[in-house]
Symmetry: D2
Subunit: 345 residues, 4 copies
C-alpha cells in the first residue's frame, strides 16, 4: 500500500473545513497531519472535527515542528504569495485556492518560486474536476457541438462575502472572489484567451447590508470578446439569497450544450396545487461541487505520488487574475478594456 | 367558406362549459346553436358566457325547436344510451363523453342505433388528440422503442367526484369515471386487448369526505395482462388534492418512452433556498389537455364535414367499459378476472 | 353573436401564413377576408390553404375592392411605415409585426398617423401574450422575486434570415429582426428603460453561408444598464441550427425566475444507454409560441370589438427600435452607447 | 486517529469490485486486507486494481491466515448462509449483499448465528443510504405528504442476469435478484408490512437471449396490498437495455413525492432539431448509487467502530425474501398470495 501524502492544511475556516472533510473521509491517499490557523477557536474546532493531531499558529512553526509533503492554502487572497513562497522554498507541494493572487506581479512571483523549487502547484479550480464539467469539456473537445461561438457562465452565491472581499482596496471584489471560476471556465471551454472585456455592475443590496465601501457591487455582467472571435458572458450575483447557482451554456457552430442546473436533489414534492412542485435547490458550493472537491484533492495527491504536473496550475490562475483586472478596470472606467492593457502585448 | 357545423350541447356543467369554450373561441368550423340542461341556473350561466342563443330543458324539445347537425353529450353516464339513441334516431351526429355507458349491453345498443342511422359517433377520449400522446403513438408505431412490453398509465384527479360517480350502484366508480382514459390509452399504445386484470383498491379519504357508500375507494392499482403477453398498470387516485396528474410510461423491447409530466408551466421560481425551486403543476384537466379538447372537437367537426369516420368511436368506448367491469369485478372478488368472463369468448 | 372582425392580411409569407392559420382555425371572432401580396404564387397557395376568397397585389387595390376593419402587416420592416399609414388613413386598425420600423423617425410617423386617425395599433410582440410570459410578469408585479436586478433574454433562431435582414443597409440586422422580442421583454420585466448598452458581435457562419455584406454578424451579446440600475443581457444567435430557443431568466433581490425551456414536448425516449435520453426541442417559433400568436390576435380582435387600446403598441415598438439602434451603434463604434444619444435627452 | 477496520472481501466480481473501489478510494476508516474468490484470474485482477495484498481461495483459508474484523459477502445468494455463518462463528462482522437468502429458513439461520455470536449484520440495501432516498424518508416521516396511500418502485436493469439468477431452481429469479431493493423500499416508505401480493410476469427476450429455463421472465409487475391498507407496485424489467432505471413515486393523503429520475448527468446537448435534446441516462447501478455505496460501507465501518447496530439488517432482509416468495408463488399459481401463507400467521 502506498504511503499516504502528508498534508498541512492552512486555514481552518469554511474552505479549510470543506477540504479537511473531503480528505479525511474520502481520500485514502492523503492525510492531514497539521492544521495552521492563528485563530485558536476555529482551529481547535476543525482539528477536533477531523481528528487532526497537530495545530500551529503559523506555517513557519508548522514547518519547524511537523513533517509533511504538501500544503493546502485556503486563507484570504492577500496572504497567498507569502504562504506559497514559504511552502515552496521548503520543498512542499502547494495546493492554492482561487483567486491565485491580487495582481499579476504576485502571480508571477508565485510561479517563479514554484519553478525554482520544482514543486507542484495546483490551483483550486475544482470545476475542472466536476464530473459534469469534465464530461462537457471532453465532448466539446471531440467536436460534438462544433467550434464554440458563445459561452455563458454564471456564479450566484447565497451569502454576503466577508468584509475584505467586498472592498476593492483589499481584494478584487466579487469578480475575483465569486466569479474566478467563471473566468477559468469560459477560457477553458472556449479554448481561447480573452481579447477584451466590458463590465456593468450594480449595487442593489449594499445599503441593506451596511456595506459602505466605495465601488461595492453585488451584481455584475461581463461581456467578453475572445481572441478566437467567440463571445463570452460572466454573470455574478452575491448575495443572491436563493441558493448556490453555477451553470454554463455553450453555443457552438453545430449545437448547444448546457451544463448544470438549479435542482440540487431529484426529490420532487407537491402538496398544494396552488403552490406547485417543489424541488431542492443547491444551497451551497460544497453541496453542488462535492465530487469536484474530492476529485481535485485526489488529483493533487496523485500528482505528488506520481510526480506529474496537475491539470490546472499557475498559468490558469494567472489568466483568471488578468481577466478580473480587466473586468474591474472596465466598469471603473466605463469602457471596454483590452487584455493587452493588463498583461502587455 | 364552409358552413359551420351546428351543434347542440347537452349538459351545461363542467365538461359542457369546457367544450363550449373550446368551440366558441377556438373552432371556427363549429357553432353551438343550442344548449340543453334541465338545471336552469347553470344552463343560463353557460349560455350567457358563450353566447349560446337557444336553451332547452331536454333534448326532445331541442330537436323540435332548433336546427342542428350534431350533439355533444356531457351528461352523467347513466343518461348516455337514451340521449345518444334519441340523437341518432333524429340523424344527429354524436360526440359522447367517456365512459361510454354503464355496461356492455348499453354500449351495444348505442353502437347499433348509430349504425342503423348512419351517423358519426365519436368518443371523448381526448388523449388520442393530445399532441404529445399523438406524437408518442406515431413513434411507437414506427417501432422506435420496439414491441411494447410494459405500459403504465395514471390518472390522479384533484377533487372528489360527484355522489353518483362514487357509488357502484349508480356508476362504475373511479375506475370508470376517472380512469376511463387509462383503459383506452393502455390498449391503444399496447396495440392489444386485455386478457385478464387484477385490481387492488383502497379507501383513505372516504370517512373524511363523508362518503359512506359501500365499496367506495379512492385509490386503485390495476394489473393487466394483455393478449400480446405485455403487462399494463392503471393507477387511479381521486381526490388526490395535489393537482391533475396524467402520465404514461412505456417500456418496449428496444427502449423506454415517457409521456407527460407533472410540471404545468415552464416558470421556475426560487426565493428561499430552504424551500427550493417552485414550478407550477397542472391544476385541472382542462389545463393539461387544452389542445387535446380543441383538437378532438375540431376532428369531430371535420369528420362530419368530410363524412369520414372519427379516429375513436364505439369500439374503443366498449373496450374501456369492458376493462372497467373486469377491474371492478376483480377487487370485489379479490381474484384476477379474465375479459372473456365479461365479454364472452 | 358578435359579428366577426374582417381582416386584410398583408404578406403571404411565413408570418402571414402563421397568422392566417391562427385566425382561420382558432379565432372565432376574426375572419380573413382579403390577402395582399405581390407574389402571385405564394399568395394563391396561402389563400387556398386558408380559404381566403379575395386576393390583391397591393393594399391600395384591396382598400378599393374589399371591405374590412383591420389589417395585419407581416411584410419586411422597410415597408411598415407606408402600409401602416395607408391603412390608418383609411380608418383601418393596424396589427404591425416587429420590428416596428427602421428608425425612430418612421416610428414617430407611424404613431402620428395612428393617433390622427384614431385607430388601434398593436405591435406583434407576441411574447406578451404567451401564457408563461404573462404569468411571469404578473408574479414579478406582485413582488414575488422582489425588485429585478438582472435579466437575461435570449432568442436563437434555427435558420439564416432573408438577405434584406442580414444587411445593415436594408435592415437593422439580427438585433432587430431576431432579437426585437428580447428588447421588449427585458424592458417589460425590468420595468425600466435602457440607459446605455454595449454590444459584442461575431460572425462565425457568414462565409459558409455566402453572406458577404459588411458588418454581418450571427452572434451578439448586448450588455444593458437600465435606468433603475438593473442589468440586462440580450443574446442572439442566428442561424443557430439546433432549434428555436427563447428563454428568460430574472434575478430579483428576493429570488430567481426562469421562463421557458429548450424542451418542446414532454415525450422522453431512450433506446441506447450510450446515447442517453432524447426529448423534442422547439423546432420553430410558431411551435414555441403557438398560444401566444392565438392570444395576441384574439386580443387584437377583442380590442377592436371593445374599442379598447391594446396591451402593446407604438410606444413599446419605438423603444425596441431605439434599443436596436443603440446596440448596433455600440458594436460599430466599440463603445457603450447611451440611449440619450439615440433618442435625445 | 482511529485504527481502520480490517475487511475481508468475499467475491471479486462486479459487486466485489464496486465495494473494493468505494472502500479503497473513499472510506478512510476501512481497509481491505484480504480478498476471497476461487476464480484466480478475476481475484488477481481485483486485488491488483485495488492494491489488496492477501488473496485466498476460500473464507476458511482466509480465516486461518489473515487477520480481519469483518467480511463483505458479495457472492451468489445460495452461498450466503454458509459464508455468513462461518464468518459470524469466527466473530467477524458481516456485511451481506441482497437478497439475504433463498428462503426464510436460511434467513432465520443467518439471524440466529449472528445473534449467538453478537456480531453485526448489515444488509446491502444501499438505497437506504442514497442521499435522495434518505431525504425522502425523512420528509415522509415528518408528514410532509401525509400518510402514504400508494407507492410505486421500479428497478429496470440494462443487462441479462447471470444464468443462476435466471432459473427458479437456483435463485428466486428477477424479483429477488433485481427487485430486492424495491421490496425493501416499498415497505420502508409505506411504514407497513405486505399483506398480500399479486404478480404478472412476461417473457419477451428469453428466446432472443437463448434462455430456455422454465418460468423465466424478464418483465414483472407486482401489485401489493399493505397491512396499512396502502397499495404498492413493484416493476421489474431486466434486461431492459436502455439504462439503469430506479425511481420511486409515493402518493400520500396530502401530496405526491417523486424520487430519482432517468437523467444521469446534467449535461444537455442539441445538435439537430429533428433529433432533439440529448441528456445522459444512468447507465449502471454503480453510477446511479455511487454515494449510496460509499455511505452504506462507511456506515458499516462506523457501526463496528462504535458497536452500534446498523440501520438495516436481518429483519429487513427477511421481509424482502418473504415478499419475493409470495410474489413468485403468485405468478406461478395465478392468484393473489397472502404473506401469512409464506411466513405463517
Amino acid at each position: 500500500m502506498i504511503k499516504p501524502i502528508r498534508i498541512c492544511m492552512i486555514g481552518a475556516g469554511r474552505v479549510g473545513k470543506n477540504h479537511s472533510r473531503a480528505i479525511t473521509r474520502h481520500i485514502a491517499g492523503g492525510r492531514i497531519v497539521a492544521l495552521v490557523d492563528p485563530m485558536a477557536q476555529v482551529r481547535e474546532e476543525t482539528a477536533l472535527e477531523f481528528g487532526i493531531e497537530n495545530q500551529f499558529d503559523t506555517l513557519e512553526i508548522a514547518l519547524e515542528k511537523a513533517d509533511f509533503d504538501a500544503v493546502i492554502i485556503t486563507t484570504p487572497t492577500p496572504t497567498h504569495l507569502t504562504l506559497a513562497a514559504l511552502a515552496a522554498e521548503n520543498k512542499k507541494h502547494v495546493f492554492l485556492e482561487k483567486p491565485m493572487a491580487l495582481n499579476l506581479q504576485e502571480c508571477d512571483a508565485i510561479n517563479k518560486v514554484i519553478d525554482e523549487n520544482a514543486v507542484i502547484l495546483q490551483l483550486g479550480f475544482m470545476r475542472r474536476f466536476d464530473p459534469e464539467f469534465v464530461a462537457a469539456a471532453q465532448r466539446i473537445e471531440t467536436g460534438e457541438i462544433g467550434q464554440p461561438m458563445m459561452i455563458k457562465s454564471n456564479t450566484h452565491g447565497p451569502g454576503l462575502p466577508p468584509p475584505w472581499a467586498r472592498d476593492l482596496h483589499t481584494s478584487n471584489g466579487m469578480l475575483a472572489e465569486v466569479n474566478s471560476h467563471d473566468w477559468d471556465t469560459t477560457r477553458w471551454f472556449m479554448g481561447s484567451n480573452y481579447e477584451r472585456v466590458y463590465t456593468e455592475v450594480a449595487n442593489f443590496k449594499g445599503a441593506v447590508n451596511n456595506v459602505n465601501v466605495p465601488n461595492f457591487y453585488d451584481n455584475a455582467l461581463v461581456n467578453i470578446k475572445f481572441e478566437s472571435g467567440g463571445l463570452g458572458l460572466i454573470s455574478g450575483v452575491c448575495p443572491c439569497g436563493y441558493g448556490y447557482d453555477a451553470r454554463v451554456e455553450i453555443v457552438g457552430d453545430k449545437g448547444i450544450m448546457q451544463i448544470g442546473e438549479l435542482q440540487g436533489q431529484s426529490v420532487v414534492v407537491c402538496t398544494n396545487r396552488d403552490q406547485g412542485l417543489i424541488t431542492p435547490i443547491f444551497r451551497t458550493w460544497p453541496e453542488r461541487f462535492e465530487w469536484a472537491y474530492i476529485n481535485e484533492l485526489e488529483h493533487f495527491v496523485t500528482c505528488i505520488q506520481n510526480e506529474t504536473p496537475p491539470r490546472v496550475g499557475g498559468i490558469e490562475g494567472r489568466w483568471a487574475v488578468a481577466g478580473v483586472l480587466a473586468g474591474t478596470k472596465s466598469f471603473l472606467e466605463q469602457r471596454p478594456v483590452y487584455l493587452k492593457e493588463i498583461i502587455g502585448e
